[in-house]
């Protein structure tokens, strides 16, 4: 009963939001060319589904997203485990890490392009760069939250530090890391599209949006692209939540569902 109800409520929420946007669009704040009502945007977004060229672009964006996010995971989880469990390393690199974190990709695009070329590599590197942090920080904080008694238990059985890390701290932290991954997934998607918009090269959803922005009445197409980005985010998040539910049935949040 619950799942159905949730879906219905979610649909209701979407309808409300759409209604609100439609009202704003029709309120006559500005000319329609400048902000078309949602219905037009949605129609356009649906039309785009039949455009193979557009779909290729979306494919390219999604590929860069997956590569970037995968790379971020591969870097962030081990690094987070290292930083969270060896305080010396944490101390040592903290200044450097905190220094690097706020650097905006907008500014990095030309520099990275110069090193990696104006292609997928740059996009992937920038995506990975931005989406490393949520996973990294959630990993580090998760390790800090692990029940000390749970760690002591394994130590008492003679397991070494690495075993404690992999068998207790990692599983105990995994749901938290997954939450970080969920944040990162959206960040990576945004970065994939935004990098395309700001770097202006190649193909992808962002390029579609950037080009649409050059037309005199391009807002409708820009927003149709936004709808696609948002829909991708929705689908990705749904998949991740589903995965979490299957992988972490023991967390308080999922216990009731068994």
């Amino acid at each position: 009963m619950r799942r159905r109800q949730e879906l219905l409520l979610g649909a209701l929420g979407v309808l409300l939001a759409l209604g609100l946007c439609e009202a704003v669009g029709r309120a006559g704040l500005v000319r329609r060319d400048y902000l078309p009502p949602v219905s037009e945007v949605l129609t356009r977004a649906v039309e785009l589904a039949g455009d193979p060229l557009f779909l290729d672009g979306v494919g390219a964006t999604v590929r860069a997203w997956a590569l970037g996010l995968g790379l971020a995971c591969a870097i962030a989880v081990p690094l987070g485990l290292l930083l969270g469990s060896v305080p010396v390393v944490d101390e040592a690199v903290r200044a450097v890490v905190e220094f690097l974190r706020p650097l905006p990709s907008v500014a990095l695009i030309p520099l990275v392009s110069l090193l990696l070329g104006s292609g997928t590599e740059t996009k992937v590197a920038l995506i990975a760069y931005a989406s490393v942090w949520p996973i990294l920080y959630n990993t580090v904080y998760g390790l800090g939250e692990t029940d000390p008694l749970a760690k002591d238990t394994l130590r008492a059985f003679g397991f070494g530090r690495l075993s404690v890390l992999l068998r207790v701290e990692l599983p105990a932290t995994a749901p938290f890391i997954a939450a970080g991954l969920r944040i990162s997934a959206a960040v990576a998607l945004i970065l994939a599209v935004a990098t395309e918009i700001l770097a202006g090269f190649g193909e992808g959803l962002g390029i579609f949006i950037a080009q649409a922005g050059l037309a005199t009445d391009g807002t409708r197409d820009v927003l149709a692209g936004v709808v696609w980005a948002g829909a991708l985010g929705l689908v990705i998040n749904g998949a991740l939540v589903w995965g979490e539910r299957r992988l972490f049935p023991w967390t308080p949040e999922h216990r009731g569902e068994r």
Partner: protein, 264 residues
């Protein structure tokens, strides 16, 4: 665990040694492989100094360029961060507590979360006036998510036994928040806040790309970029990094006060 003062200063020493080594390595590389795009740190430092910190002592050594660009940026960023933090914690708690609210809002929020802010410029322009309001709105729109998600997850994953205890103690809504859900989610909230803080700096730069902006660190940066003034670009990057470091240190201090109850 209370760490001794000695351990703390050893940590600081280590931290700065590593940073200094990294900078030295950078200096060396840029000297042996000169490139206009990657100027040596000494040049960047000199340029940063003349650009912003060579002002009169009466102005705390800030140049007019610094007061005109750094202060408004900081104001935007801080406002954005504070709003994002409050909104994120409030909304996150609501969604974490109420299954119904979560079900209702979740799809819309997940949709909004994935929307790339640069593509929203046309909407921002229509709905908001140029200037601070638009900039702060664009910062909040993207910086709120890490706090929101971590808070909601933290609240949802509160130990069920402790929730039962609160029910039995008949704590009311606000008491539950204050004594159970917020403290229990606090580590996660702080993870979110730290992410969101550096995101705010990044977004501050983005927000100063928005139409109608004429000052700010981000504006200086992008303007320098369009003028191929790489030294200024690097100076802005270094300033952002330093700001990020300082702000993060402040947040850590706050966190230590709130979470400082050692291991459990």
């Amino acid at each position: 665990m209370k760490r001794g003062r000695a351990a703390a200063s050893r940590g600081a020493l280590l931290r700065w040694t590593v940073l200094a080594t990294a900078i030295a390595a950078w200096q060396l590389t840029t000297r042996t492989h000169p490139s206009v795009y990657f100027p040596p740190p000494t040049d960047i430092a000199r340029h940063t100094h003349t650009l912003w910190f060579s002002g009169p002592p009466t102005h705390a050594f800030l140049t007019p360029a610094a007061t005109e660009n750094i202060l408004p940026s900081l104001a935007r960023m801080t406002t954005g961060f504070v709003i994002a933090a409050i909104a994120g914690i409030a909304l996150g708690t609501a969604l974490g507590r109420s299954r119904r609210a979560h079900a209702l809002c979740n799809p819309v929020l997940q949709f909004a979360r994935a929307v790339p802010p640069p593509a929203l410029v046309p909407v921002f322009v229509v709905l908001l006036d140029f200037g601070t309001r638009m900039q702060v709105a664009s910062i909040v729109f993207s910086a709120v998510w890490p706090v929101l998600i971590n808070t909601a997850d933290g609240v949802r994953n509160t130990d069920p036994l402790r929730v039962d205890v609160a029910a039995v103690l008949r704590l009311n809504r606000t008491e539950r928040l204050r004594f159970l859900f917020l403290p229990s989610a606090l580590p996660r909230i702080f993870a979110g806040l730290r992410l969101s803080l550096s995101l705010c700096l990044v977004l501050m730069v983005f927000s100063e790309l928005l139409p109608g902006t004429a000052n700010g660190i981000g504006f200086t940066l992008t303007d320098a970029q369009s003028r191929s003034d790489l030294l200024t670009v690097w100076a802005a990057l270094v300033l952002l990094g330093a700001l990020g470091y300082v702000l993060n240190t402040v947040l850590l201090a706050v966190e230590k006060r709130l979470l400082g109850r050692g291991d459990r």
